[in-house]
Symmetry: C2
Subunit: 599 residues, 2 copies
């Protein structure tokens, strides 16, 4: 099976991300490196024992609606897996001890979660959404809501969802129509239809807590009139017991190319006029609240994409090391023995792309998780604010770059296995199918590009980008002092300057009100930024590897691999930013000027 | 349904490829534009009536082995489709009238074939392989073999396969082990196992003619000891009647991610020691013979990839024109109406990528088909030779570029449909899964890169590349005279010079025997060449479009669409060749220097 090597998590957490500094903070003082490593090992064990074995089976036996009862049934292995996850405390791991949590840093929770995602991303989606929904109630709910709805989510009695999209409003949340009418008891009567609700129906938990966006009657049009509600599948009494149906109906299950183990649903709320919802946070502030969950979810999507990329990388690496085929280009004697395909230059290229994309993406997402911790526990308010600024600009990158480039990684994993990789006897085609969802959900690739190039780059007079550039320059300065890494440092400095120049050109468009022109090629901006950020992430890893090799630490091959992937990234990938920047600086109007009627 | 617009075929055949000149040649003098157009319309009608309707169903009900009989059964619609194809004469269309053919140009046959591939590529694979196998017998078989085996393939009584790969020898044909022992009657006894044999078993035809590569006992090792054999599933008597089993056994069916309607098989030959084969061509010349079929098949794979790309393009275009979602970036009023997503710049980018890739790939593959005709019917021997030289260098490009970039096109088709595109209720996910095979079969992407950068570019002192460059320069000269296209002409001239410079650098490596260094980054060379060739193909189309618009021909929007796609290609795609060339010219050693043990 493929799994995330504990060695890799260890390297990222302790050597690259600097987890140990976090552990010294009051919130985490009960932890040390040993307890963290033990937690990671537990995750690896559970992933291997409960998640990985049914990865294929849950794909070929998707959840279905039972004829008689209308219930959604699925392989029993899924419930055993999510139960094991809950029982080990992973649903509550980062929560306060007072609430039954372990007060683990979010970074550790995310590192563990990636291990589950690599083993079985579709099954991991159930706890993924539950954790997100619980975090949302934790952030904005009342104490009563936390007691009634969040507490059972931390133990796995209740699961959660996020219910945003509607059939007529996918990416355009401004256009949702689900309505909420105030009731005398302070609750709201919810009416509407939601679509693409992952984990929207199942029998894995006693109850499902839907976090629903809806409009309170009379609210302003657009995103300023959206509120957030808790809408349980079954009503919950004061004492926590279930009080029967809350008028939430499964309209239908959606059947996907991949991610088949996760139910995707259309749900109707309030068909019988008795669907009860509870306002979370302020009226009309629903989108802002939901973005709390969405930003986390976006990084989580990137992490999942990275995990799938990594799983394909390790699988195809094992295959390439053992599959003999062909001979070196110089070999003239056809009777000479074949070599393992890992010896062919182009197979090494495909391995290096996968390693660079997946390990780089994993590092980026865990770095973002570290920023979430920083926002929460940094002693200085200024440090918290800086973490928030970095997170703002890195979130669209952490969501999109892995989704795009780890999907590509999975493409190369299939390619390395050749015909075998194209069959359903090997997991790589499933990684590829599963990963194809990631550039779509939680805000498409295009939406992320607009978020970055249309909003995040400019906020607070560009404070996020300025801070990111300063942070990258620290790494450049460090690497410039290392003779072997100095050329990379110089290349990254140029890329950073290219980003700055390009941003200035787009800033002029923005200043003059040419918003469409500014955003015409936003995905090129996202790619340019993403590649620059990943180059920085790789240089950070290379610095650690160089130091480890210089110190003569064991496992030299591991560090040489890090340096090889870094070298690959700077030779094959980073130069692409030049082409993207040239397109952007030319303010190319091809997309704007093309009339769809011509196509 | 998605299909190739007759308008597009018309434009490519008559305006871009110059089919009409072909029709004036003696072999085709019974044809005119009207008969060709009628043939294309027939293909479109059959594709729509017989091929398209079961595209999805054949994916969800793949062929399976029947319990009792061991026969491979599949949806009856597949047989009805291939029968209709045969009855309309498409299996024999390009063959001599004396053999029951229509003496159609290969270009027309391929244009029609793309229509079938766009409708249902998995069902089209059965005639695809039959046509290829028949062509192989036509080129190298004896008159007796043509009568006994080829003639029934032209009517659809027999179908064909190509049986090259073995479990231990996929890309490395030098290592095949299937053996052929001469029998007193002049036939050979065949023993061995073949894998990945598409259409290797089915009940669609009375017999299956396998074109098998095997080693005659005592043959030299490697590719110089491979011979080609006709091995029928059932023996065929002198009078053409079937004489029972020929000891060819289905070992198992392989289950693929896509292309599920086409059986993929493992076959054993001669388990009982009585599998009869017939040598085709000379002993030990099998690989050269097979390359006749493979080169055709490679262009056919490119054509299929283009057809899938095109199908996804049209489907997502229709969707984008009718799905309302979001507002222009300038729109501030959330109550203003939503616009069709085709109006969003990034959706137009995704449409333009698909159009540029799929229509460009279609044009390239039909241009290659035109060269096949030229080889066959050009009056001047020198013209035939030139066509052969161009085909040599263009075949790896025509195989690979569409396979890679029309797969990417299908990725964007899914993206445009968003969540819907990821469900199995829409065909785009199936296009994507089906197309994923194309970079693998008939020589992987890496194999094509090595063929181009290791062989084709250098053959006859670079005669192929020189001739290609001359051909491209003619288009450049023409476009340079058009003020609107002159910038594209200049960009293409630079790209061509970049290819030349890069080739010189690699040539020095080759001259000094550094073969591994020359080939280390061969896929970057293939991509650079492919993008340059496609830029040329687009400039040719743009020239036609410009002339048509200047003449005031109808359908102006169609021509504007061609110019928009050309503009897209030059703005977004062609500049990538600079990055590839820089990598190649630096003789980057990352892939060579990386030890797989480090990864």
């Amino acid at each position: 099976m493929s799994r995330i090597e504990p060695r890799e998590i260890d390297f990222l957490l302790h050597d690259v991300i600097g987890l140990d500094a976090l552990l010294r903070r009051p919130r985490h003082q009960h932890l040390d490196r040993g307890t963290v490593d033990e937690t990671v090992r537990t995750a690896a064990r559970l992933a291997e024992e409960y998640f990985a074995p049914h990865y294929r089976a849950a794909d070929s036996h998707e959840p279905e609606r039972e004829g008689g009862t209308g219930r959604v049934v699925m392989l029993p292995e899924v419930k055993r897996a999510v139960d094991a996850f809950a029982e080990a405390g992973f649903l509550a791991a980062h929560h306060d001890e007072a609430r039954g949590g372990l007060q683990l840093p979010w970074t550790v929770v995310q590192a563990c979660f990636a291990i589950f995602q690599a083993a079985n991303i579709a099954t991991a989606a159930y706890p993924f959404l539950t954790i997100g929904a619980a975090n949302l109630i934790d952030a904005f709910g009342t104490e009563e809501q936390k007691r009634r709805f969040m507490a059972p989510m931390l133990t796995g009695r209740f699961f959660g969802t996020m219910a945003l999209s509607e059939p007529q409003a996918g990416s355009s949340l401004a256009d949702i129509r689900t309505s909420a009418a105030p009731e005398p008891d302070g609750s709201y009567s919810i009416t509407g239809t939601k679509q693409w609700i992952s984990a929207g129906e199942h029998e894995l938990s006693e109850n499902i807590v839907h976090m629903v966006l809806a409009r309170i009657k009379g609210a302003p049009a657009g995103v300023k009139g959206i509120s957030l509600f808790i809408v349980p599948r079954f009503r919950v009494a004061e004492d926590g017991s279930l009080q029967g149906d809350n008028d939430v109906r499964l309209v239908s299950l959606l059947h996907k190319m991949g991610y088949r183990g996760t139910t995707s649903t259309i749900l109707s709320f309030g068909e019988a006029g008795r669907c009860q919802g509870f306002l979370v946070g302020q009226e009309n502030q629903g989108l802002a609240c939901m973005f709390h969950m969405m930003n986390e979810a976006r990084i989580g999507v990137g992490l999942g994409a990275a995990a799938l990329g990594y799983a394909g990388f390790r699988y195809s690496l094992d295959y390439a090391r053992t599959r003999p085929q062909g001979r070196p280009p110089e070999a003239r004697d056809p009777a000479s023995p074949m070599i393992p395909i890992a010896g062919h230059a182009d197979v090494k290229r495909m391995l290096l792309q996968q390693k660079a994309a997946s390990e780089g993406a994993l590092a980026l997402c865990l770095y973002c998780a570290r920023l979430v911790d920083e926002q929460k526990t940094a002693p200085e308010p200024a440090a918290r604010e800086r973490a928030g600024l970095l997170l703002d600009i890195l979130t669209p990158v952490a969501k999109s770059w892995p989704s795009e480039h780890c999907l590509e990684a999975n493409k190369w994993a299939i390619q390395i296995l050749g015909g075998y990789g194209y069959t359903r006897d090997y997991p790589v085609e499933q990684y590829y199918r599963d990963n194809r969802l990631n550039p779509i959900h939680e805000g498409t690739y295009g939406i992320q590009a607009n978020d970055l190039a249309g909003r995040k780059v400019w906020q607070q007079n560009g404070a996020s980008l300025t801070l990111l550039a300063e942070t990258v320059r620290e790494t450049i300065a460090e690497a410039a002092r290392d003779a072997d890494l100095a050329p990379h440092a110089a290349a990254l400095a140029r890329a950073l300057e290219t980003v700055a120049e390009t941003t200035r050109v787009l800033g002029r468009e923005r200043a003059e009100g040419r918003v469409a022109e500014m955003l015409a090629n936003a995905v090129a901006y996202l790619e340019m930024m993403g590649h620059t950020v990943l180059a920085w992430i790789w240089l950070r890893q290379a610095l650690v590897a160089r130091a480890a090799l210089a110190d003569g630490r064991g496992d030299a091959d591991y560090y040489r691999g890090k340096l090889a992937a870094c070298r690959y990234f700077y030779a094959w990938e980073l130069p692409k930013t030049e082409t993207q920047a040239a397109l952007l600086r030319s303010l190319d109007r091809t997309t704007l000027d093309t009339d769809p009627a011509w196509l």
